[in-house]
């Protein structure tokens, strides 16, 4: 079943849509949630919530790429769960390390973001990503969107762990400078 057929099931309010989604994208969503949360139990709950969210958002949404649509939902839900868990001092998967790396790019103060339009910032980051080679772009997105571990990224890209870490460090520095040059002081 292709994406368009699954989306149509949602629009038809056919519950087969959930089964088809789980069948096709269950593993994909689970891996994202597990990367962020570390716990299989928490990840499973987030994935189930993702199906419910998808059910509630289609219609009106008709996503072109179902995987990234679902991925975004599960990523947000997992992040919220992570925050909740952190408040209760419960562990976490790869996210603490990812957030620590992202600290290079931000001041850590909440007040600055008031002045920044989120959409402009996203557009600028998209433009920056366009300047990278497909391989570097993939490494960056696997780390900061999919929250993959360094080891997984290294395997996927046929590189050593050290090379992945060094590449990510260079990209973060480039992104930092790119944003600064365009007036984004995060």
């Amino acid at each position: 079943m292709d994406d368009a057929e699954i989306v149509q099931l949602y629009w038809d309010r056919n519950e087969q849509a959930i089964l088809a989604t789980a069948d096709q994208y269950g593993n994909y969503c689970t891996s994202i949630a597990k990367n962020i949360l570390g716990s299989c139990e928490d990840a499973e709950e987030c994935v189930n919530d993702t199906y419910m969210n998808a059910w509630n958002s289609m219609p009106p949404h008709r996503p072109n790429i179902l995987s990234t649509f679902l991925g975004k939902i599960v990523r947000n839900l997992s992040l919220n769960r992570y925050k909740h868990n952190t408040a209760k001092k419960r562990g976490g998967g790869e996210l603490p390390a990812v957030l620590n790396e992202l600290s290079d790019l931000v001041s850590g103060k909440d007040d600055v973001e008031q002045e920044i339009t989120r959409k402009e910032l996203v557009n600028t980051i998209d433009a920056f990503l366009d300047t990278l080679s497909p391989e570097k772009r993939s490494i960056f997105i696997r780390r900061y969107w999919y929250t993959d571990s360094i080891l997984e990224i290294a395997k996927r890209h046929g590189m050593s762990d050290g090379a992945v870490s060094a590449t990510l460090s260079r990209i973060r520095l480039k992104l930092h400078n790119y944003l600064l040059e365009r007036g984004f002081e995060l």
């Binding site: 994909y28 790429i65 995987s67 975004k72 992040l79 973001e113 996203v122 997105i141 969107w145 996927r156």
Partner: protein, 284 residues
């Protein structure tokens, strides 16, 4: 901004990027190496002209997508440079070249490149390579451990062009003259006219009316030949027609090996070169 907030923002990047990273798998060799191998094999095959009828072109992996279908290139000062088909790789930066900037080349970001004001037709790029530029007996590039080296890139108006300079006039081989791309060497009308008159290659004795001009001096691959009689292919006998300055003939030989021939057959003759307006002609 907090790191958590930035992580949230990154969740909104364009889905094309997310999809690309979902599907990305490193399965390919460096693009330039692939093209280097193709170029080296083609050079050998064309150079020896052996069994062209029965041999397939050099193998290429089936992972070709969008830009990777083309050999690596870069643009410097508005001029497009493409990796040399002869794969000139050296550990030392050739004399006269100086650092001129950095560019993304063949999938590698931030490659330093070097220019020489006296040789604007070449740029050297310092990049990762998997070869020392030599080829084995089959024409395949010899593989080495990954290392950095200076790689020659050639102005696309010169790259792969077989040129002869005869009495300071420029001639281009009918084999390499282009009339249908973005940067035509000659017009289609002119090409068709010369093709009808002489063809691309003449087999046999020197045609009537042509006289021996001398042996062209080989100036090197990827070079612009200059002087009384020079070639960027090899030392070769050149013939001219006093009544038709638009054409010269360059002595050559080639082989065929069709099934009927039961082995290879050598042919002797002449490549046809036609006069053209060389973009690199020294301004007087």
């Amino acid at each position: 901004m907090t790191n958590e907030r930035l992580y949230e923002v990154l969740g909104d990047i364009h889905e094309k990027h997310v999809k690309e990273a979902e599907e990305y798998r490193k399965t390919k060799r460096p693009v330039w190496l692939k093209w280097g191998a193709v170029a080296a094999c083609l050079c050998l095959v064309v150079g020896l002209a052996i069994r062209m009828a029965v041999h397939q072109p050099a193998e290429t992996p089936n992972d070709t997508v969008h830009d990777e279908a083309r050999p690596p290139s870069l643009t410097v000062n508005g001029v497009n440079y493409c990796i040399s088909p002869h794969i000139a790789v050296s550990n030392e930066l050739p004399d006269g070249f100086m650092y001129a900037g950095e560019a993304s080349v063949g999938g590698f970001d931030d490659c330093p490149y070097y220019t020489n004001p006296d040789m604007p037709e070449w740029v050297y790029v310092y990049q990762q390579v998997w070869t020392d530029g030599t080829v084995d007996e089959t024409g395949t590039l010899n593989r080495t451990e990954p290392h950095h080296a200076y790689v020659r890139y050639v102005d696309v108006r010169l790259r792969g062009k077989k040129l002869v300079c005869c009495n300071h006039e420029y001639y281009i081989s009918m084999w390499s003259a282009q009339y249908d791309d973005d940067r035509p060497d000659v017009t289609k009308e002119y090409y068709d006219e010369m093709d009808a008159l002489y063809g691309k290659r003449i087999e046999g004795e020197v045609p009537d009316g042509f006289e021996f001009a001398g042996t062209a001096v080989f100036t090197g691959t990827d070079t612009i030949p200059t002087g009384e009689l020079a070639s960027n292919q090899k030392d070769a006998a050149v013939y001219y027609d006093p009544d038709d300055p638009a054409v010269i003939l360059v002595e050559t030989s080639w082989f065929t090996a069709t099934a009927e021939e039961n082995g290879q057959t050598r042919h002797d003759g002449f490549d046809v070169y036609i006069r053209y307006d060389c973009p690199f002609q020294p301004k007087s």
